[in-house]
Symmetry: C2
């Protein structure tokens, strides 16, 4: 596939127009376009332009409200709730961000509980900005029933990612974003698209039997948790934190069968943000750097997030890589 390079701002602008044209508010379009372009810029291929057909078919199906107005609720000195109004999670996060930051600076820790929301993106963009402000952030989001709990036979949990960001003196923040399933759903989709097989232990087919064929996983099968019962316990925690605590749906609770084309899970998201400066310890970002240097010292040369930052730097120099086909697809959406 021939590859083109496009300036980041131009990609954001193009995506914003696409979202606007296909049924989202100006605010939602801005937020989602920047999110999607950031993933494309950073080489998070499964969450970049690759996701646009899913966004648009979902909007067309009437499953999500692209014009939803998030309602921010000041529940307690450390507790912000946001009702996303059946819209996307990212504009809901933006709507509550200032109040959350105020509470974090005031109390040392605060949480934002987003419910009635759709999260169809990478999770690291939700936490990285907090670390750039010197804060520690943890985000959990549940998704759609596609993961079989340890010891179970049928899918119940979502891919249920956990994302974490911490400031690091003299460097970009230390950020990880990991699905609690053995493989991310987007990567199964990419493997299927590319006709690849997967390693063993990643998923089961529609009969609950192990399979290495991504098509069989997507066709009524399911993923497995990473790390056996431990990953399964963490996935359960994500269900409780992102759904039970927020008032959102569990991954198995929503029924989108009346909305053909719908792809976005209608659940919840929890963010916990901490201001280390309010504690009694030494400079947190210096300590992060001490740990990273020790990790390098024992041979772990590549840190979580490194690949994204390298891709980001390259994209800033050369423009964001995008296939000619994807670029033509995006432009065609504006005709």
């Amino acid at each position: 596939m021939s590859q083109e390079r496009i300036p980041f701002d131009e990609l954001v602008s193009l995506l914003t127009q696409v979202f606007r044209r296909h049924g989202t508010s100006e605010t939602a379009a801005d937020v989602l376009a920047r999110n999607c372009a950031s993933a494309q810029r950073d080489g998070s291929d499964s969450h970049g332009v690759f996701r646009m057909p899913g966004y648009l078919s979902t909007l067309a199906s009437g499953w999500v409200d692209g014009n939803a107005q998030p309602v921010v609720e000041d529940c307690a000195p450390g507790f912000v709730a946001v009702d996303a109004g059946n819209g996307f999670a990212q504009p809901a996060l933006e709507a509550g961000r200032e109040l959350l930051l105020e509470k974090v600076r005031q109390n040392g820790i605060a949480l934002m509980a987003i419910r009635n929301s759709h999260h169809f993106a990478a999770l690291w963009p939700d936490v990285e900005p907090f670390a750039r402000q010197g804060l520690v952030a943890l985000a959990l989001v549940n998704s759609m029933a596609c993961v079989v709990p340890a010891g179970g036979r049928k899918p119940l949990f979502g891919t249920n990612p956990i994302s974490f960001a911490a400031p690091r003196t003299g460097h970009d923040p230390l950020v990880f974003d990991l699905a609690t399933c053995a493989i991310a759903h987007g990567d199964v989709q990419i493997a299927a698209k590319e006709g690849k097989t997967l390693p063993e232990g990643y998923g089961v087919d529609a009969d609950g039997q192990p399979t290495c064929d991504p098509e069989k996983i997507l066709d009524g099968g399911a993923l497995l948790p990473f790390g056996g019962y431990k990953g399964s316990a963490l996935s359960m925690m994500v269900e409780l934190m992102a759904a039970a605590l927020t008032g959102g749906n569990f991954s198995f609770e929503f029924d989108w069968s009346g909305h053909p084309g719908a792809k976005t899970p209608w659940t919840g998201e929890l963010l916990i943000v901490i201001d280390p400066a309010r504690g009694a310890g030494s400079n947190f970002a210096d300590r992060t750097e001490t740990l990273v240097q020790a990790m390098v010292g024992v041979g772990q040369t590549r840190q979580p997030g490194d690949r994204r930052y390298r891709q980001r730097a390259e994209s800033q120099r050369l423009g964001v890589a995008i296939t000619a086909a994807d670029l033509a697809y995006l432009k065609g959406l504006l005709d």
Copy 2:
């Protein structure tokens, strides 16, 4: 080995006397004895009476201060710090508990950052009581360099457990306690004691080569994280949350070589506690029960914590199981 049964309170009393006799304050003895007896009662064999020789050799070595007076600091409306004074983490948690609970009820979320502390016990006893009060609790503790980070060659991280507790309507709380290494250090010790071999992928020997021999892991070798790079990222997060955020040592930072017999890691612990009732969602404990029923429905018949509760019920009926040798050992410590 012949097994005896002893009433829980009698075991607590016996352990309290042992701790008192071997250099701890009355408060520390009470807290540690109850903790150790609870693990024995619940069948957490690697953290029950099995741990006593380690506690006592550590106290004898002068590495830990059994008479430390924890100092509680009210850092911010949501932030409690406790300097354990080179004592054990559990008495420090007790010292800060009331202030933490007050802050959680007030703010909806609060944290307790314990530093300068030694944690040599299971982690679930630290979170379960919060869930019995309707709260959600997460605890992280780092330990001693015995886990090789993903991609690395030498140990750096601790076993770094994550423990979580959530209330569940009509049932004991849902609680998990999982080491972020592929196997708990205590279980390696037990396997070594029993002369068993371990599955592949659990650890490496002193040369960094994979081994299934628990003795080789204990003899200068190291454990591996569970679930590859994902478990490694979570272990890193535990280092940052339990040490960098609290002001405690990283797992690789302390040097106990001047204290032969010392077994307890001198690090930190972080607790995050949330009051779901301060949010906008529905009844959290009911929602937990809904999730558990769904887990049962897809075939996951055994939930996290179930085994402990079954053992606990049996211990309450019949007394706490203990080998005759262990009971004689404990009584001998009072001679």
